[in-house]
Subunit: 153 residues, 2 copies
DNA sequence: CATAATTATTCATTCTAATGAATAATTATG
DNA sequence: CATAATTATTCATTAGAATGAATAATTATG
């Protein structure tokens, strides 16, 4: 009954509160909180959270940098979000308007922001619409097509 | 390669453009657009979209009312969204603050708005925080607990 | 009214993301 | 440096949402 995002949020909290030296220690701390997870899942979670290992007092501990240096999400993750939530992509000049179901624009915008695409210089999300600004080296048309491809439209 | 939300968006468009009299006609129109779906899926989609059947010129056609009278989402759908995205719930007086992963607040707020709960009179969503206002007949504490239960926290 | 047509629902199946056991790869330690 | 410890990855499995075939239920029609 614990989703991956809930577990990752809990991991963030545990790492902020304690010195965690290795994955098995984290697996145990999660279990104390009633969350079952294997070393494999923890490894993946830490990777997705952008956790780093710091030297502290002679040993190393995990920490999540305060500056949000989460790894750029893989293109497959962006494709998944677009495939689920982007229902339309139109352009005008260097602007692209993506349409989503109501309430879903921010999830998509957040995924775009976290991807390492250099074709987009920014996004503005409303309720069901995202304004995407294409970078100078590309065009609104190309970016709209890119998102249509990602969304499977 | 077509998600349910994309298919439902397409259905909305088809119903706005044409007179669709029954499910099998819609199944065919979807197929023309390259989207395979069975009568069963179409039945569910129309239900979720709140489609109604209007009498027009001697026969009946499907339409989606302009006023967003989508069916209230089932409690299980709200539970699913909360289980996936709500990572914290705290209260103060009649206010409840729900925490989500970055960019996910609106999805949750939208689900809450679309549920038929009478315990919440409104929501305000940011990036990773939702302010939920408890109704007068209940309390912030009870509403926070309700969301913790829904989220499996 | 009988029944054909349509719609909703059940139940088995499919799909896909996530998970974990096992193991390969990497790092830390004595 | 050897090797124990730790971490990352592979591959099989699981979980849960969605789907579709079949059928029950409902509605429309002559």
């Amino acid at each position: 009954m614990t989703s991956k995002s809930q577990r990752q949020h809990l991991i963030e909290r545990l790492l902020a509160e304690r010195s965690v030296g290795d994955h098995s220690e984290l697996v145990e701390l999660l279990a104390v909180e009633g969350v079952e997870a294997s070393q494999a899942s923890v490894s993946r979670d830490l990777d997705e959270l952008g956790a780093v290992k710091l030297r502290a007092g002679g040993h190393t501990v995990y920490a999540i940098p305060e500056i949000a240096t989460q790894r750029a999400i893989p293109i497959e993750a962006l494709r998944r979000v677009c495939g689920d939530w982007v229902v339309g992509a139109e352009h005008s000049d260097n602007l692209v308007v993506l349409t989503t179901p109501p309430g879903s624009a921010h999830v998509v915008a957040s995924a775009i922001d976290r991807s390492d695409t250099t074709d987009v210089i920014g996004t503005v999300a409303g309720d069901d619409t995202i304004l995407v600004i294409a970078a100078r080296h590309t065009s609104g048309e190309a970016v709209a097509k890119h998102f249509r491809d990602l969304a499977g439209l």
